[in-house]
């Protein structure tokens, strides 16, 4: 009599790395066209105002707004596997330096992304400053 072997169910364990934003395995199609399909992070994530940073509070007060306003749509995403935030004015991803330690949760990361993006956009070194000097009409 042949003994029945207890077949162990093989379940694929989902590693933490697979769940991290920007490190999701690309589909065959995405690899082929060299372009990602869809957003790499939750663009609809609403901000948690309890996580707001002192710099952002000052920015809101200076502009006379009631809340984060346009920054509600800013999230920390990934570019080529590195944390980055998209600058709509420069139309490119701005990479977060390695020296900045990032917290584990997305809400805190988003607040850091917002703060850094404001600093980047308002900097005299922003790429648009040169364009403005060259093309400004009035």
């Amino acid at each position: 009599m042949v003994k029945k072997k207890n077949k162990k169910k093989i379940t694929k364990s989902v590693t933490v790395k697979d769940q991290q934003l920007g490190k999701k395995k690309e589909t065959a199609r995405e690899k082929m066209i060299g372009q990602s399909i869809g957003y790499r992070y939750d663009v609809n994530l609403l901000p948690d105002y309890s996580k707001i940073t002192p710099f952002l509070k000052k920015y809101i007060d200076a502009m006379g707004w009631d809340d984060l306003n346009w920054l509600e749509d800013v999230h920390m995403g990934y570019e080529e596997g590195r944390p980055a935030v998209f600058c709509r004015n420069a139309n490119g991803w701005v990479t977060i330096p390695k020296s900045i330690k990032l917290p584990n949760n997305q809400q805190d990361r988003d607040m850091i992304a917002r703060e850094l993006l404001v600093k980047f956009q308002m900097s005299p070194k922003h790429p648009l400053v040169d364009l403005k000097k060259a093309y400004l009409k009035f």
């Binding site: 609809n44 105002y49 707004w65 749509d73 420069a90 490119g92 330096p97 020296s99 850094l116 600093k119």
Partner: protein, 284 residues
Amino acid sequence: MANLKNVTKKTKAQAMGMHSEVLTGRTQQKFFNPDEAENFYYFGTYDVDFNKRTDLDVKDMTAADANKEIDNLMSQGYGTIVIKNPQGKHSIGVGILNKLNLIFEGSLGYFGIGSCDGPIVRINGRVGWSCAENLMAGKVVIEKNAGSCFGAAIRGGDLICKGSVGARTGIDMKGGTIIIGGDAGAFTGFMMQRGRIIILGNVGINLGDSMYDGTIFVGGEIGSYGSDAVDAELTKSDQDWLKRKLKVAEIGENFDVSKMKKIVAGKKLWNYDNLEPTEKKGAI
């Protein structure tokens, strides 16, 4: 044959080397400088004071002249400008990339408050087509009704209409929040890609047609859903955000947000995969 000389006059941009750079890759690689000084305004914008107030009567001005005068007043440090007699002029209050408190005492025509980034605008009247088109940041409040294409292609900021709006509100919007106190017309949120629309009243047919992403909240009845617009669960986070946002919008503070419907993209139209020919691989 005329003896044409080769004109080699360089533009300012060419002189700065902007036409000789080699453009490679899909995106720019830029890094933050975390030690950047604390600065809240774009380079080259005016330092204005909200407490410094002035009036501007635009009755006998063209829209272009009125816009230039607003710019001139900002350059003098005026942070609050009251526009008298706008009389339904088109394209007025456009291209303001500054912090500013702008108040219109009357109604605007087409394309008012277009391409703005930062100002707080209040219109004590109605607005025509495409109000606040391409708004980047700031807050725009319309006390009465608005025409079609309200907030077309906005990227950020809060756009509030206390009355009702026409068709195609938030068409192609890529961010920001549109809040409607009354009803909205057909094709609201047509092709929206990001951002949020809140409608406290009823909405017409084809709501959120072909939306790629983003969220629509509706308090009243929905005429019909557009292609790929589907219902989603209203979460506690959504309700908290709605309460806070309605307070900012100065409307519907006592509105029961728990009964609102939430509409999102079904993502069945994400067919770029099939549309992208393999031959393009080399070009990307």
